[in-house]
Amino acid sequence: MKNLLPALILAIAINPIFAGMAQQPDTPPPASLQIKKAALWLGGRSMQVNASKGSQLDFLDYADNSRLTEFFLLGFSLQLQYHEIFQLSIDAFTADDIVPNSLKLQLLTQPRGSWIGLNAGFMRYPFLITGFEGFHLDQDPDFFADANTRQRRMHDLCLFAGPGISLQGKSTFLSVNFNVAYATLLPFSESFRQKQANSNLRREIIYKTQTSSSFLFFPELTFGADIASFTGKKIGLQIQASMLSGNRHIHYDKTVRQWSEENQSSEKVRSQGHRFEKTDITMGIYYRF
């Protein structure tokens, strides 16, 4: 891993030397922003979050955790080209709730005729944590509490950057990105009210999470092949895969109020790290302008 980064920087630096070997045609650069590709795709998502099961509530123990967290991802992509060396990709997508709350913006800069470049961008997507009221129902069996299932939509904001390889054939293309993402979960608060059985004691437990950020590995792969062309435009099929992987946590401030709101105590709780892996695989149809 230590040798990989200098090698990539060297490859980018000497890349123009091999420009002649690149498969892109030697055409004059377009003068302005142009739509290069539009795509519509469907796919699925797998999310794996290791459980910690400590003595304190850990919200990530209740995150979506299955091989097929979302079996329906529907998205639309638009690829814009500026001066041949800048490529802007916009991906908007939704899960089966049909709420268009996922977005990826990505800018790739690639020297003319080169096959390697740098890309950076922003991604936002939601995932659910469900059933975390179960922690207190299990932990405090002698307390009455609301047993309705609680669910919260977490919003993961990722800034990412890294080197990318883009190869262009006559009727196929392949791009691979090796990104590092700085992912942030936005803070939220939850509270639980309890009444002890055979006692007058009532209490409220309030959790206020902190902004939780982690560095994650975020590789992406896209492969496409033309299946038809007419008047210089091409229609094809593409497959995309991406993974977000690393360690994550949600630290919080915990306040316990007993009897009345004035009688309270607080503590800071640092949750354990969880192994976090999110994998998206999609297939779709594209139109190349």
């Binding site: 009444k195 055979n198 006692s199 007058n200 004691l201 009897w259 009345s260």
Partner: protein, 175 residues
């Protein structure tokens, strides 16, 4: 209006919500009672429509009138008539061991209020003319160690008058 009536009843708070007591026993950690303050001079029978008419009659609605008691509640005092614990012999003032909820504070929405907060809230609440009463629930924040509990409750008003009542004795069940 002025409060001229006080009724005190035990509450069974062993479950999730307080209920009237049907037996003669309370759990040692769940000693609770309700105190109903009212102005009985403002209570009246609702108007009854009698007779029969085939002619529809028009009737104006009366305005909703609200009243504030002339004399606010200055304090409440709770005395234990039996020993409560080893440190609290018969005759001890145990007011500070209680929390309360008045009828305007939804039980599920609040933790308990202190007695001062409860009295302040009641003193600022106007009463409907046809509902001149307030029910306050009191909850003991300690475990009774004596097998029997009996309490005397006294409300003192701003004109230095007071209303007091004594609960019936009740048996205490240790956990």
């Amino acid at each position: 209006m002025s409060f001229n009536f006080l009724r005190v009843e035990w509450l069974d708070n062993s479950g999730q919500w307080p209920q009237p007591v049907w037996g003669d026993t309370l759990f040692a950690g769940a000693i609770a009672f309700s105190a109903t303050l009212a102005d009985t001079t403002m209570m009246h029978m609702p108007e009854l429509r009698q007779g029969f008419s085939i002619i529809p009659e028009a009737k104006a609605m009366s305005c909703i009138m609200k009243f504030v008691p002339r004399h606010s509640i200055e304090s409440v005092q709770i005395i234990s008539l039996f020993p409560l614990t080893e440190d609290l012999p018969a005759g001890s003032d145990i007011t500070n061991l209680f929390f309360a909820l008045h009828s305007g504070a939804m039980y599920g929405e609040h933790l308990y209020l202190t007695l001062d907060q409860t009295l302040n809230a009641i003193n600022q609440t106007p009463f409907l003319a046809d509902w001149p009463q307030e029910k306050i629930s009191f909850f003991l924040a300690a475990e009774a160690q004596h097998p029997v509990v009996q309490l005397e409750i006294r409300f003192t008003f701003s004109d230095h008058t007071s209303l007091s009542s004594i609960t019936p004795p009740i048996h205490v069940r240790q956990p």
